[in-house]
């Protein structure tokens, strides 16, 4: 173990503070609205902290560092695209303003007003399927980081224990306090996580030296350094180079990120918890640049790890592009600082897990179970059921995370599983809010067709050899194309439906 007594003290103090704050908020929960959307009392800065903390998890740090290791600084291009998408939506209010004004708790709830109960239910199912599968690898990746950075033994099943304890702590305060606990713990986690990220980034640059890092990264790509060879297969700075992302991938990401920031339920739940649409828009604009750092800073650590191992005899046995970064950090972080960084990374993991658990439980309750229940439930029953769902999803994640190995790199897995619902739900949202001719037939067609590409990617790539596998950008772009086509053709081929209620209009 690389941890000193001081490091343990820092980690335990952070965990105790977080648990105390999370459990304390339980006293303010009176019903599902408080539990799911914090009574819609969230203001801008708390929204920024919560949004940033939820969307920057340990899993994010792991896959963005992997991108940095495999694609150099150019791996952060996705962060730049995401920041542009956030700013565009925050400036124009595209989708989010109308969504907040509608007063719904989840996206599928809006679909019922616009397309009917059936579409709400099916959309809810896709949202949960995509969301929970997507979250399935969070725990494993988070555990991998902690095991590698602390030097825990693999033989002692440390990874499994770390994952179980982490999830257990998150479950306690999320089940008790819901979104209110999530907001307050997110705030604490935002601060600790930010501190950890800034310290680590400064140390990484200090350790290698900025100019040396840039030059050595280039040498890893052109293979000019004696005794190192070509350890980087992608152009480290140019994302448009055919060895790197290339044009098709960038175009898919442009569309994908607009869909993410307007449709991804964990982000939208912050929009719906905001005081009003102006608060939501401001929160988006002010968080936009944060998303550049979300990719660029861990990407910097990943690129530095590549340079470090390339110039020091190659990647040690047992490490790969995913685990190289934490192993590298364990060599440069001094006593005391490693405790702060681990506390920061735990903060990142916990804030993401709690936000995601709550979001998917809310969708299952609100859109899959509630519409099917004939006898109205009491507020107490609703709360109990939502809490039970958080617990069930947590247990599922623990077991799924333990045995599933994602095909390809982690980012592609996350992007494609998210795409199961992003393409179709984004199409439904945009058409439902801005196209009067859109109807339920188009909505059904978009939902089903939008899921074809990503599901084919997951299933086919499990069975065929690597060279015959479907590329993520092909699966992703295909799902958007099919969802759009389904909505347009389905709506135009069936009779125009007059919107019955004011709410639907």
């Amino acid at each position: 173990m690389n941890l000193h007594f001081i490091d343990w003290a820092i980690i335990i103090a952070y965990l105790a503070g977080c648990m105390f704050a999370g459990i304390w908020m339980r006293r303010y929960v009176r019903g599902v609205e408080d539990f799911a959307v914090a009574g819609r009392e969230m203001d801008v800065n708390l929204g920024i902290a919560s949004l940033a903390a939820t969307e920057l998890g340990l899993v994010t740090i792991m896959y963005t560092a992997q991108l940095g290791y495999e694609k150099g600084f150019a791996g952060a291009t996705i962060g730049v695209i995401m920041a542009l998408a956030m700013y565009f939506v925050g400036r124009t209010g595209f989708v989010i303003a109308r969504l907040r004004r509608s007063g719904v708790m989840t996206i599928p709830e809006l679909f019922e007003k616009r397309f009917g109960k059936g579409v709400r239910w099916l959309a809810g199912l896709f949202v949960v399927l995509g969301g929970v599968l997507n979250m399935g690898i969070f725990l494993r990746l988070g555990g991998e980081f902690l095991v590698n950075v602390t030097g825990m033994s693999r033989e002692s099943h440390a990874l499994e224990w770390v994952m179980t304890v982490l999830l257990g702590l998150v479950l306690i305060y999320t089940v008790l306090g819901g979104m209110l606990s999530v907001l307050v713990t997110d705030y604490l986690q935002f601060i600790v996580m930010g501190l950890g990220i800034v310290i680590t980034s400064v140390l990484v640059i200090y350790h290698t030296g900025w100019n040396a890092l840039v030059q050595q990264l280039w040498s890893c790509w052109d293979g000019s350094a004696v005794g190192v060879g070509q350890t980087l297969k992608s152009h480290p700075f140019n994302p448009l180079d055919k060895s790197n992302f290339g044009w098709l991938y960038i175009v898919w990401q442009l569309l994908f990120q607009i869909a993410v920031v307007t449709t991804w339920q964990t982000q939208i739940s912050r929009v719906l918890a905001s005081k009003d649409e102006h608060t939501a828009k401001k929160m988006y604009r002010r968080t936009a640049f944060y998303f550049v750092g979300r990719f660029a800073l861990p990407g910097l650590w990943g690129a530095a790890a590549l340079v470090h191992f390339s110039y020091n005899g190659g990647l040690p046995k047992g490490l790969d592009s995913l685990t190289a970064m934490p192993a590298y950090l364990s060599t440069i972080l001094p006593i005391g600082l490693i405790g702060i960084v681990i506390a920061g990374m735990l903060a990142a993991e916990m804030s993401t897990d709690s936000g995601y658990l709550l979001t998917w439980a809310t969708v299952i309750f609100n859109d899959l179970i509630s519409p099917c229940v004939k006898k109205p439930m009491t507020a107490k029953q609703k709360l109990l059921l939502t809490r039970g769902l958080v617990l069930v999803i947590g247990l599922f994640l623990l077991f799924y995370g333990l045995w599933y190995q994602p095909p390809g790199n982690a980012w592609d897995y996350l992007a494609v599983t998210g795409n199961i619902y992003l393409a179709s739900v984004f199409t439904l949202l945009a058409a439902g809010l801005y196209w009067k001719r859109a109807n339920a037939t188009g909505a059904y067609a978009a939902l089903v067709l939008g899921a074809v590409g990503p599901i084919a990617f997951l299933v086919v790539n499990m069975f065929v050899p690597k060279e015959k596998q479907i590329d993520p950008e092909v699966a992703g772009a295909l799902s958007f194309g099919l969802a759009f086509a389904g909505m347009i053709v389905g709506s135009l081929l069936t009779p125009k439906v007059e919107l019955a209620t004011e709410a639907a209009k």
Binding site: G39, E41, V44, N45, A52, L195, L297
Partner: protein, 52 residues
């Protein structure tokens, strides 16, 4: 062209470090106040409900 990309990523990385550091203090201070305000409002609501 490569030099242009290197400059671009240098600006992005250093600005990100600065931005994360700034938000730590700015959101840290303002967010704390908002939590206080939010809990006060929720407490007031609960008290009102109890009275009614």
């Amino acid at each position: 062209m490569t030099l242009l990309f290197i400059s671009f990523w240098s600006v992005m990385i250093f600005t990100s470090i600065f931005w994360y550091g700034f938000l730590l203090f700015y959101v840290g201070a303002k967010g704390g106040k908002e939590i206080k305000e939010m809990t006060r409002t929720l407490q007031r609501r609960a008290d009102d409900e109890r009275k009614n």
